[in-house]
């Protein structure tokens, strides 16, 4: 049986606690070592040993003890490992910081898709309407699928179109269906992204609304710093502007009114619910920004409890 050690100085195979039976030394440059340690060189090396028929233990050997076997001093070990791990952390942090910006771009991308879909579908409806004005299917996707499949056009007031004429329309329809698929894929991606970027807000609002709030605020940081009263009207900027300019009633409806519980509540209770909801969102955003990784399920529970009280 041999134990393996993965250290900043090299990979070791050690038999009987102190016999180095195989070794792959690493370079002296901390930056290079960092890249090797986060890559899969160690795994490759281990596989190589296995192929040679070595009987390898699952647990990884203490890296300092391994280094001592090679004649490296404790002081050297500590000094060098520190430089290496600083490089590793730099590489990894770089990958993670600013992921809320990806949320912003995804939300923007979805908006663009929706706008484009709407423009083109309206065109298709008008175009196809020349041919078959009686076809009434409100749902865009169903409508497009239907015209691609082709319809029996009996007793229509529309004009006849050749195969070629129709093909021009259905090509466009096919592209839009493709865009719907893309939209779904981005939504799935955004859902996962929100787990990473803002899990507590997501637990409370769902991925779409949570992402929308981050987009409206400009970043997770700004959302975390906004007071609940502003979160409540995020997305109602136009109405807010009018209110400030012309003294119209202050807006109570920001994007948080997309929440189903609030939408379905009696009108008289919506304001109260929106206020509570905004408070919990503010707390969740703070948790996600200031102590990332910390789960706060009690915020959802408190919100649910409050909903019951208000709707009673």
């Amino acid at each position: 049986m041999v134990s393996l050690a993965k250290t900043p100085f090299g990979f070791f195979a050690i038999a009987m606690q102190d016999q180095i039976v195989d070794i792959k030394k690493l370079p002296n440059d901390p930056k290079e070592v960092a890249k090797i340690l986060i890559g899969n060189d160690f795994e490759e090396w281990r596989k190589g040993l296995k192929k040679k028929g070595m009987d390898i233990k699952d647990t990884i050997f203490d890296p300092l003890k391994a280094a001592l076997l090679l004649g490296i001093s404790r002081k050297e070990f500590l000094t060098f490992s520190r430089l290496v791990e600083i490089e590793i952390s730099k590489l990894q942090i770089k990958k993670f910081i600013g992921k809320d910006y990806l949320v912003l771009q995804s939300v923007g991308g979805l908006d663009d898709l929706n706008k484009s879909i709407n423009i083109v579908v309206n065109r298709i409806r008008e175009w196809y309407g020349m041919h078959f004005p009686e076809l009434k299917i409100e749902d865009h996707e169903k409508f497009l699928k239907k015209i691609i499949k082709g319809v029996d056009r009996v007793e229509s007031m529309g004009i006849d179109l050749s195969k070629e004429d129709l093909q021009a329309i259905t090509r466009l329809a096919e592209m839009i269906l493709e865009m719907y698929k893309t939209k779904t894929k981005i939504e799935v991606y955004l859902d996962k992204l929100m787990d990473e970027v803002s899990p507590n807000v997501k637990a409370l609002t769902g991925a779409n609304l949570g992402a929308r709030l981050i987009e409206k605020a400009g970043s997770l940081r700004s959302l975390a710093l906004l007071p609940a009263s502003t979160i409540q009207v995020l997305g109602a900027e136009k109405a807010l502007f009018k209110h400030l300019q012309k003294g119209t009633p202050s807006p109570k409806h920001g994007v948080i009114f997309q929440n189903q519980i609030i939408t379905r509540a009696p009108v008289s209770k919506r304001g109260k619910l929106a206020r509570t909801f905004a408070t919990k969102i503010a707390l969740s955003a703070k948790a996600d920004f200031f102590s990332p990784g910390e789960k706060r399920p009690e915020l959802v529970k408190l919100w649910e409890k409050r909903v019951k009280e208000v709707l009673k």
Binding site: P63, L78, R82, I86, S89, Q92, I93, S291, G293, E298
Partner: protein, 211 residues
């Protein structure tokens, strides 16, 4: 000694002259510079303030789970001088701050990692003399036991901050605390414990020794 009582407060001798890590006050005593240790910002500070005694040594290798931006770690760094602190945290923003601090102190190592997966930092962390855990997670005891098993030497010490609200908000904190103790007591001896009021609400600090 590097920990000093100044009136009712405590302070550590600054390892990096002139450096302030979290806007703490600096003060001179007998020609040496000290950093005041704010018990409201640090659970180890709070426990010491409440009379817990930790027999630190200047060569201790320390694994710190949930190091955050390094507020507490900076004082431990003052104390253990020639030792090393392996600070683990999965939150990129706070770990970045700890990384910047680590570049100024030769006994700090930032590890961007998750204490739920102790093997993931085995390439760098050797057997240690001391573990500090302050992760505020529901599965705190599990996280602690896994790490202690892999890294803490026999007879080694551990400081654990138990936050009852992170484990179960609905339970009485005392219940959560005794449950935590039961979960670790086969492997650990409890040397001392302190509630952290008035500095922290519903927190218990434990000093443990690995059997």
């Amino acid at each position: 000694m590097t920990i000093l009582k100044i009136g009712r407060e405590i302070a550590t001798e600054n390892l990096v002259k002139g450096q302030r890590v979290y806007k703490e006050r600096l003060t001179k005593r007998r020609g040496k510079e000290y950093r005041m240790w704010n018990p409201k910002r640090s659970k180890v500070g709070a426990a010491l303030q409440k009379g817990m005694k930790i027999p630190f040594s200047e060569t201790w290798l320390t694994l710190y789970l949930g190091v955050a931006s390094g507020t507490t770690a900076s004082h431990i760094s003052d104390i253990i001088k020639r030792g090393m602190i392996y600070g683990v945290d999965p939150a990129p923003r706070v770990l970045r701050e700890f990384l910047i601090l680590s570049e100024t102190r030769e006994n700090l190592i930032p590890i961007f990692g998750n204490a739920n997966y102790p093997e993931s930092y085995r390439h760098i962390v050797p057997e240690v003399d001391f573990i500090i855990q302050d992760v505020a997670q529901p599965n705190q005891s599990q996280i602690f036991l896994k790490n202690a098993k892999l890294y803490l030497k026999k007879g080694g010490l551990a400081f654990v901050a138990v936050k009852s609200r992170s484990i179960d908000v609905t339970l009485n904190p005392n219940k959560v605390f005794s449950q935590f103790k039961r979960e670790i007591e086969t492997e650990f001896e409890i040397i001392s414990e302190r509630k952290l009021e008035p500095y922290e609400k519903d927190h218990l600090a434990l000093l443990l020794r690995k059997k």
